[in-house]
Amino acid sequence: MENIQATLHKGPAVEASRPIKMTSRDVIVHYGAKQALNGITLDIPERQVTALIGPSGCGKSTYLRCLNRMNDTIDSAKVRGQILLDGEDVYAPDIDVVELRARVGMVFQKPNPFPKSIYENVSYGPKIHGLAHNKQELDEIVHTSLRKAGLWREVHDRLDEPGTGLSGGQQQRLCIARAIAVSPEVILMDEPCSALDPIATATVEELIDELRENYTIVIVTHSMQQAARVSQLTAMFHLGDLAEVGPTEKIFSNPDDKRTQDYITGRFG
């Protein structure tokens, strides 16, 4: 508790009255017969970092995967309720999932670079979406994305080497660069630092803080320090319910909900 408080004071201030980027209303998810989410209603502000915290199995990753319909890839998953991106229903029949995922990018728990070169990893998205008309434009996108992901200095002289040869932290930043390269509006991050050492974690956290200027970010994390350091809004999940949502500072200093209080003071989770 002490060090979370300390982190908070250094952390970014809450910016009020941001426009809402994504909205969800009564989102219910079933995996087969098992209900994973019991009606989540949550607003995600634009160009802010929203952290989803909670004990394991509470549904935060499930919720995250609803936002860009990654749950579609799981046969048994059934999603009900409403999720809006800029007021548009993400689950409407006329929505192109492929286009949605280009607008709502994703970074996964375990760094998952493709077994290709660094350059090909980043240029993958722009190529399939036809974002570049020639080699110069593609180079430009790749270089910019790597710069934004803070990886340019480390890899600019070895873009042809396999992405799988990088260290874990570099791989994760490569995956972030890969996500940025398709110019998404929202980036979803599913415990992006859980497989990284503290130094790589710090680098990625700094990166998230910088990315906030241009992108709306939703991050699932198990580390409350991390939520406190990088997020402006925190949502606490518990057993498929949204226990509490509020400005990060308030959640960590003065939570309303008993479950949140117990969780952040380490009584469970």
């Binding site: 990654m70 046969d75 949605l100 995922r101 670079p113 493709f114 993958y124 890969r178 398709v182």
Partner: protein, 513 residues
């Protein structure tokens, strides 16, 4: 392990020798008895003033059982292998001087007759057996044996009777000696191990070493068998190449091994291997050309698109194809596919030129390739399906999460990642195609043509191996020996393919992970 027939009274024992199977059962019983005693003793030691045992009682029991059973069975195996060799050497050595030179018999043939008389004598009832002595003429013996329905060779002569009696007595003696020695070894082994039992005995580690040894023995049997197969072909191959020059074999374009009469040394015919190699590769290539895309697409569908329900139905159905014996595919080619292609080609040429002539023969490279492809599809799809499924889901998610469609993900991420595995699967499939015989015999015929036209018959190496080895032939001719040269060549080709497949997998594996 043949069980000995009942033998009546003889000079060495009052009862019949113990069968090998009984010996093994008794040895195992000795081992188990030792194990039970060891277990009790070990339990008793634990009870005594809180001694800490290194190993649990079950390990002491296994330790004693192993020492009781394994050395005894090894002795048994060695005895069973060595004693016939010793006996035959002894008996052959006492053949009378010069008798072999007088007759047309070789030493091995003569020994065979002696052995068969010996076996016959063992079957006779005791009173009849007693009438036969070293001096009994062979005609009386054969008459007796014929009454019992036992045939003997006409070449049997008088001097063989005493040798047969000697052979029998040596066999019985060896049998009793073996039984005794094996039991002594079993008891001694178990007793020695039993004496070793002590709190400090590392029975657990010893048992571990025995398990280790057993596993090594199992895998070396597989390897030794391969080596044995290679050697069995190697000597005949060398023999063949001493008669026909390798250059003629490897570069000859005509395959016409004439079957010369036994004993005559006429024209051996030509042994050009090229038409067979061409046929093998051509039919294999046609089969792969059809099987690879279909199998691969089926695999992609099952791994990436089909939901679990569909997959659980389609996959076993596809694998049923793999269980069909290839001779059945051969029937299918012979009575369905071949005639169909022939009639189809007649229709096509009729429509095109007005002249109803079938340009595809019923037995052709195309027929064989087509039917072989059907056989290969389940191999390609099953192997590729496993490989595609083993590509980590995180790569799939990564690509889908960037807004790629499924087919983009498969084309750009999954197939490149699975490529080394798929290539090696295809090479394994190719070596199956090259080794296939029955389909080719029935679908492409046995004519060794050298042609580029897929509508004509051709044949393969394996078909010709069968053709050269079947029938009533003298073994020692190039016509027969060529089969071994062909087999050896085929072995080298498929070995090369498999080694290359392993090399590719190793080379790309690191990149894959």
């Amino acid at each position: 392990m043949r069980s000995e027939p009942l033998v009546p009274r003889n000079s060495f024992g009052e009862s019949a020798p113990v069968s090998t199977f009984t010996i093994i059962l008794i040895v195992i019983a000795i081992g188990l008895a030792g194990a039970v005693m060891a277990y009790r003793r070990s339990r008793a030691l634990v009870g005594k003033d809180g001694v800490k045992m290194h190993s649990r009682p079950t390990y002491h029991a296994s330790f004693v059982a192993c020492w009781g059973i394994i050395p005894a069975l090894l002795t048994l195996a060695v005895w069973l292998i060595v004693s016939p060799i010793v006996i035959s050497t002894n008996v052959s050595a006492s053949f009378p001087e010069g008798v072999l030179a007088d007759s047309q018999l070789t030493e091995g043939l003569a020994y065979g007759i002696v052995e068969s008389i010996g076996t016959g004598l063992q079957v006779l009832p005791g009173d009849e057996r007693a009438t036969i002595t070293d001096a009994t003429p062979v005609a009386d013996v054969t008459a007796l044996l014929r009454d019992r329905g036992i045939p003997t060779a006409s070449a049997a002569t008088d001097w063989m009777v005493p040798l047969a009696i000697q052979l029998n007595s040596m066999q019985i003696w060896s049998r009793w000696a073996m039984t005794l020695v094996v039991f002594v070894v079993a008891v001694a082994g178990a007793f020695w191990a039993y004496r070793q039992i002590a709190p400090r005995l590392r029975a657990r580690n010893n048992v571990e070493r025995i398990v280790n040894g057993a596993l090594i023995a199992a895998s070396s049997i597989a390897i030794m068998t391969t080596v044995g197969i290679v050697f069995s072909m190697l000597f005949e191959t060398i023999d063949f190449f001493s008669r026909i020059s390798p250059a003629e074999f490897f570069f000859g374009t005509s395959w016409e091994p004439r079957f010369s009469n036994v004993g005559s040394s006429g024209n051996a015919g030509s042994f050009g291997f090229i038409p067979l190699l061409a046929g093998t590769l051509y039919i294999g290539a046609v089969a792969m050309l059809i099987a690879v895309p279909i199998g691969l697409f089926a695999a992609i569908y099952m791994a990436e698109y089909a939901d679990n329900r569909t997959r659980s139905i389609v996959k076993p159905l596809l694998e049923v194809l793999a269980g069909i014996p290839t001779i059945v595919y051969g029937f299918f080619a012979l009575i369905t596919v071949g005639p169909f292609l022939r009639d189809l080609s007649a229709e096509i040429s009729g429509l095109a030129t007005g002249n109803y002539v079938s340009f595809i023969e019923a037995q052709s490279v195309l027929t064989a390739g087509l039917v072989m492809a059907i056989m290969l599809i389940p191999f390609v799809s099953s192997l590729s399906d496993d490989i595609i499924t083993s590509v980590p889901t995180s790569l799939r998610d990564g690509s889908l999460g960037l807004g790629a469609t499924r087919s983009e993900t498969i084309k750009r991420v999954i197939l490149p990642a699975a490529l080394p595995g798929i290539v090696s699967a295809l090479l394994l499939t190719a070596s199956r195609a090259i080794g296939e015989t029955m389909i080719v015999v029935l679908a492409a015929g046995v004519a060794a043509n050298l042609t580029l036209n897929p509508f004509e018959p051709m044949t393969t190496i394996t078909v010709k191996i069968v053709a050269q080895l079947t029938g009533d032939l003298e073994f020692n001719t190039p016509q027969t020996l060529v089969a071994f040269a062909l087999g050896m060549t085929l072995f080298v080709i498929t070995l090369g393919l498999n080694v290359y497949a392993l090399y590719i997998v190793r080379k790309y594996k690191e990149q894959y992970e």
